[in-house]
Symmetry: C2
Subunit: 370 residues, 2 copies
């Protein structure tokens, strides 16, 4: 029997699972499209008309590689945030940046702390570099700041991951509480603070920007309120020394030229940002009202989705999810113990939320009858 | 003094160098734009009008994440190539795929073979995962098939990299010679066969597609004749088992939705592909004629660039490059011993080649006088 080139022992040991099954994959398996795409925390209100125009104008230029430094975009972000461009690195979505961070700080056996039920893609990268994941249960429906800090100290963790506002629960801590959490971490633990949903958070939910803080990397994205998930643009704000280290490992020409053009145009359209934030807020309230009319409790949300407590156990919530799927509604749900009693519904245009609303009562009935 | 979170010893040891300085970076340093962008082996003839239209049509949909399986594009590629879609993985340019391949097969100290002066980005990834790079000198102006195979056997290499047609020299081996080379490799050595320039190669320069060959991964791209370098779309053809392994480590949602739409449209426009191949060939002949009129020898080219032997040593060729830069002409050059006597000029639209042509005589004069 012929031999094959062997994978490294680490890669050989990894499962072929994926962090998320995409809605297109589900549609292919289902054999028909969803009528409501409310599961991936995308922004169905879309990018601004000006951004669409910028993409159209940039299209003929796609024969050129993108600027590997994303210089103009980083300059614009720096000006907006009041930090230096040396405090910013741009990458292929927060997902891509998370992979680079894990690679830089963690190797086989390195302790890494996260919450049980937090972002699976972070865990995917931790496994991918052979690091040792230590999980901390949520405290109620929020990530446990005390528990995470305690675990980071106990384990001498190299990395600790926290999303604020939180995915998948939509909850948040105040900026003051996050600042105290940062102070409670060992100096040698790098905090990966995922702020993908920062734009839809209430005032006071974010700690001040202190980019030269040596052990904090803050992740943000154009995938949510800016409506550009399909273009893969995340950025990381951190100390210049740590930001420079990304240059040792990143795919330098990985950012598309289109993405840079679109993100730059999106940053310039503050009116659209404000409009989307209002639309998100209105839709969150509508989703909460729909939940309540059906006897369910919507968790308070600082994000572009609403997590709905289905009031029973994980098996019931999973049946609700499947019954919604049968009615062509794409939503997702947390899978960790206790959090799994919920489903997670992204905001979206009125007609898609209408589909969800009309599907919910029969879905609940079917789930209860099963 | 406060401590910082430490990088892994491997990442700490890596230099902050980058494989290529982008032309935009050079323009910022120069303080003015190039008049001829002929250094990055891009395709200045651009994507087809139909592809531009497909990008424009897709723009409003960019709020959706791209399909993480790139299903439609992989299906179309499979149909075009006569292989199964399970033999294809799509990634963020060949650059991104090379990083994933190195990560899968090589770790600290793993022997990896390439040619001295071949693609720097491959070497960047080899260093990035701590593997041990073994280099083989070119044989004349072609990569040495015998030398590479011998080194792979001697070193028990896990990976061997070969570009055919070759970058940076533009030369090529016949498909039969490549097939014999494959047969000469150990079964446990994975060949990374970079065919970025396959579409502009003469008939017979490619070995037959045998996707289930266990130790060959063939890399191709939409960055060259398809004119979509700015959208980052490479693909790898290989045995289904090896292709599945990419799913263990890749950034599943890394491909932009725009890229998938544009690449799919590009595949469908065969007339444009044929037209570009003709334009490339005509421009190669023009560049060769320009070289000859200036007393220089153009190497035969199977790529979208022409490597020009400046007839003296590397220092002279570097002076030519700098003198061209001073005249707003962006070209690049090989840096390895002996290859470094050349400059490398990408094909491009007539007006940009005009700029190169008019700059060459004074540049040569300045370089000779220095």
């Amino acid at each position: 029997m012929p031999q094959r080139p062997p994978l490294t022992p680490l890669v050989e040991s990894l499962p072929e699972t994926v962090p998320f099954v995409g809605p297109e994959t589900q549609e292919r398996l289902r054999g028909r499209p969803f009528r409501a795409r409310l599961g991936a925390n995308e922004n169905g209100f879309g990018p601004s008309p000006g951004v669409v125009e910028a993409m159209r104008a940039a299209a003929p230029e796609m024969w050129k590689y993108g600027d590997p430094e994303s210089h103009d975009l980083r300059q614009a972000l720096a000006a907006r945030l009041g930090v230096a461009s040396s405090n910013i690195v741009v990458g292929e979505g927060i997902d891509g940046l998370l992979g680079l961070v894990v690679r830089q700080y963690a190797g086989p056996g390195t302790p890494v702390v996260t919450s049980l039920g937090a972002y699976p893609t972070f865990n995917y990268h931790v496994a991918g570099f052979g690091a040792r994941l230590v999980t901390v249960p949520y405290e109620g429906d929020r990530e446990s700041l005390e528990g995470l800090a305690e675990a980071a100290r106990r384990e001498r963790a190299r990395l600790v991951y926290l999303s604020n506002p939180d995915n998948p629960m939509g909850t948040w801590w105040s900026g003051e509480e996050i600042a105290r959490f940062i102070d409670a971490l060992p100096e040698t633990t790098m905090l990966v603070l995922d702020e993908a949903y920062c734009e839809t958070a209430p005032a006071g939910a974010l700690p001040p920007l202190e980019p030269e803080r040596p052990n904090v990397l803050r992740m943000r994205t154009f995938s949510k309120v800016y409506g550009l998930a399909g273009l893969r643009c995340g950025y990381c704000i951190g100390p210049a020394e740590a930001i420079r280290a990304f240059d040792k490992v990143r795919n330098h020409f990985g950012m598309t030229r289109m993405t840079q053009a679109a993100a730059l145009a999106a940053l310039e359209d503050e009116a659209h940002l404000r409009k989307v934030v209002e639309l998100v807020d209105a839709c969150r309230r509508r989703l909460a009202a729909i939940a309540e009319r059906h006897g369910l409790a919507a968790l308070p949300s600082a994000t572009n989705f609403v997590t709905i407590d289905c009031g029973r156990d994980g098996a019931f919530a999973l049946r609700v999810l499947k019954a919604l799927d049968a009615r062509d509604v794409f939503v997702r749900k947390p899978m960790a113990p206790r959090l799994d009693r919920c489903i997670r519904v992204s905001v979206g245009p009125q007609d898609e939320v209408d589909v969800f609303e009309s599907a919910l009562a029969p879905a609940l009935e079917e789930a209860g009858a099963a």
